[in-house]
């Protein structure tokens, strides 16, 4: 006799196609891999962790020059486990840049970007830029001295591009100087625009990885 779980599973499977999902997504053959292959999924894990901790932070964070700093202090000192969540988000950002970069290096070294995985690489470059963009926009949010002046210089650098520099500078800062508008802009980019793009590109990236399968480590015949 089938127990209740099996019945439930059969019911769901018929409607959701769980079994074919399992076959297509999980029960796939792969070339023999090693720990270098975990870096992509580690990037994914870090991204999801950043999303989760980031959502928590937005509950208390206030993106205005008057209150941003204090709201972070509040998270660190008053909110239960706020220090832990912020700590994870802070260090997770650094680690994500590192892991994504090493992931890129590994796909470069094993020449995984070659036929038929050219687009996987292309999307990957987009992801690298977005990751750095997240780091850059997130750094300003605590509105402390280091962030303020580093961003002043950072946007200045972007502003030195010939011809369009002036425009880029204004677009980033929302005016000639860093102001409440800049903070608002960086906040919007950090929690809406860049993550939305990242979700889209990660989806595409993973689709391509599954479609072509992971590349094998090259040997003398390759």
């Amino acid at each position: 006799m089938r127990n209740a779980w099996q019945t439930l599973f059969a019911w769901l499977d018929e409607r959701l196609g769980l079994h074919s999902l399992y076959q297509n997504l999980l029960d796939r053959p792969e070339p023999r891999g090693n720990w270098w292959n975990t870096l992509g999924s580690a990037s994914l894990f870090l991204f999801l962790l950043q999303v989760a901790t980031g959502i928590f932070l937005t509950v208390y964070y206030n993106p205005s020059p008057d209150h941003a700093y204090d709201s972070i202090q509040y998270i660190m000192n008053e909110v239960a486990f706020g220090w832990l969540i912020r700590g994870i988000h802070h260090w997770g950002a650094s680690l994500m840049v590192l892991v994504v970069f090493i992931h890129m290096l590994r796909t470069f070294v094993t020449a995984s970007y070659k036929y038929p995985r050219e687009l996987t690489w292309l999307v990957g470059v987009g992801l690298l830029l977005l990751t750095l963009g997240m780091g850059f926009t997130g750094y300003l949010l605590p509105w402390h001295q280091m962030a303020y002046w580093a961003t002043t210089v950072g946007t200045q650098i972007a502003g030195s591009v010939p011809f369009v520099g002036e425009f880029i500078l204004k677009a980033l800062r929302g005016g000639p100087d860093l102001s409440a508008l800049t903070l608002q802009r960086f906040f919007a980019a950090h929690i809406w625009i860049l993550p939305a793009l990242m979700f889209a590109l990660i989806g595409l990236h993973l689709y391509l990885v599954i479609k072509h399968g992971e590349s094998h480590f090259p040997d003398k015949d390759d």
């Binding site: 999980l26 070339p31 023999r32 070659k114 750094y139 001295q145 303020y148 580093a150």
Partner: protein, 460 residues
């Protein structure tokens, strides 16, 4: 790429799959372990390393040295080194836009440039060599970011050494790679490998040389308070330095005395409800920053007074005022600066002098500040540093310069001019604090609490 090559690639891949593993559970298992390790690492970092915030942003404090996230440091250093190249260095956008843009562009179109189907490492010496030098260079530039480009004596040598390591050698290596790849063809990989290793070793060598010869300039490590208690204490320190002479220790002064120009001026006590209830934090910060020029209170904001207070410091003062005087705020328990001395007790450096010096003296007596090179940051320095290091602190000697100047007696030159003014230069220490210094010096400057406990005051 012709259809046969593609066919061959697919056939090879199929064979690899045959002798491979399953995504579930083999790969997922490793992925899960990796994720767990990362998670644990992050919790450890968050708990033990914490997050280091600097003080609140202050647009008027342009003296602040900006420091980007560590993963952009290599770019900062690259720009600094590039800027000192003669002529070319003046064209800023080559370094800020063109070179990073080119690097990114190459990375983007890489699969469409490097179209050969060869994947084995030994057959790809050129791209691996280029990437290797690039990453190696980024690494050294990141490390060098802590080190000065121009030495403290104005010498340009460190910058030149670093530019050789971070710009010139990579360029030479790339040129060599290109020449080798063109001329040697079949035998190129080996030559590229050795050229790359050689260039890498030289890059490391020049970086290390510059690091050894020109260590980082002593950074001003100003601790800045994070918790509420620390902020209130910091606010009290700042208040006693800047506000005390007019408003009094507890903000109760109604008639200013002893301040030139304001003698006898009647003011409202700033610890009263009248002031605290009607002025909110934002207006309070403005009053402190702009002062009350019409009534005689000077501006304290950095924007109006280069010696003034940063935005964060003003906030600490406000926290101190609120939690000490405003009855709507409950003051958290704050430990006294040092445990009060018993009648026969002898103070020690560790328990008494160190916190007192930190609150009343260290703001001026540390490296980078002009105070006769008398650094009070360590026990040894308090005893021996300074232009008058042999006279400042003498065991059992009432004429120690330190004791004289904190008791309102300046040290005079033979011609009658002041060699050392009274300390601290504005305001005077509380009698109990002076007593701590006094007993400490007369009893021979005990360092630890145990040493001090063996002594009794006064000496028999």
């Amino acid at each position: 790429m012709n259809p046969e090559t593609r066919q061959k690639i697919h056939e090879k891949y199929e064979r690899e799959l045959q002798r491979g593993e399953r995504f579930w559970p083999d790969s997922i298992f490793k992925d899960a372990i990796m994720a767990l390790a990362i998670f644990i690492l992050l919790i450890l970092l968050a708990t033990f390393a914490g997050v280091h915030d600097s003080p609140k942003a202050d647009p008027s404090d342009t003296s602040y040295v900006p420091r980007p996230e560590w993963y952009f440091l290599f770019l900062f250093k690259f720009l600094a080194l590039y800027a000192q190249i003669p002529v070319l260095g003046k064209i800023e956008w080559i370094a800020t836009a063109l070179i990073p843009g080119l690097a990114l562009g190459v990375l983007t179109v890489l699969p469409f440039v490097d179209k050969s189907p060869r994947r084995y490492y030994a057959k790809r010496a050129l791209p691996l060599g280029i990437m290797g030098i690039l990453v190696w260079g980024m690494l050294w530039l990141t490390i060098l970011a802590e080190y000065p480009t121009v030495a403290s004596d104005g010498s340009r040598v460190p910058g030149i050494l670093q530019a050789i390591a971070g710009i010139l050698l990579p360029l030479l290596a790339y040129t060599a790679f290109a020449v080798i790849a063109y001329t040697l063809k079949e035998r190129a990989p080996r030559a590229i490998l050795f050229t790359g290793l050689g260039a890498g070793a030289l890059m490391a060598g020049f970086s290390l040389l510059s690091m050894a010869l020109y260590p980082p300039s002593h950074k001003e490590t100003v601790e800045h308070p994070t918790g509420l208690v620390d902020q209130i204490v910091a606010g009290q320190d700042l208040y006693s330095i800047h506000c005390l002479e007019c408003h009094g220790e507890d903000g109760s002064i109604t008639v200013i005395q002893g301040v030139p120009g304001l003698e006898g001026k009647v003011i409202s006590p700033i610890n009263s409800r009248d002031v605290l209830y009607t002025v909110n934090d934002a207006s309070m910060a403005q009053i402190i920053a702009y002062g009350r020029p019409d009534s005689g209170m000077p501006p304290f904001g950095k924007a109006y007074n280069p010696e003034g207070l940063t935005r964060a410091e003003i906030d600490y003062i406000i926290a101190f005022m609120r939690y000490s005087w405003d009855d709507r705020y409950e003051k958290p328990e704050i430990k006294p600066l040092y445990p009060p001395l018993g009648a026969y007790e002898v103070p020690s450096y560790e328990v008494h002098i160190a916190p007192i010096v930190k609150r009343y003296c260290l703001s001026c007596h540390r490296p980078g500040k002009d105070s006769n090179d008398y650094f009070m940051d360590t026990y040894e320095n308090i005893l021996h540093s300074g232009d008058n290091g042999d006279r400042n602190v003498l065991a059992g000697d009432e004429t120690s310069f330190l004791l004289q100047v904190i008791q309102g007696q300046p040290i005079l030159n033979p011609d009658g001019s002041e060699e050392i003014g009274v300390m601290p230069p504005s305001g005077t220490l509380k009698p109990e604090v002076i007593e701590v210094f006094h007993r400490w010096v007369l009893m021979g400057m005990p360092r630890t609490a145990e040493e001090a406990a063996r002594l009794t005051w006064p000496a028999p």
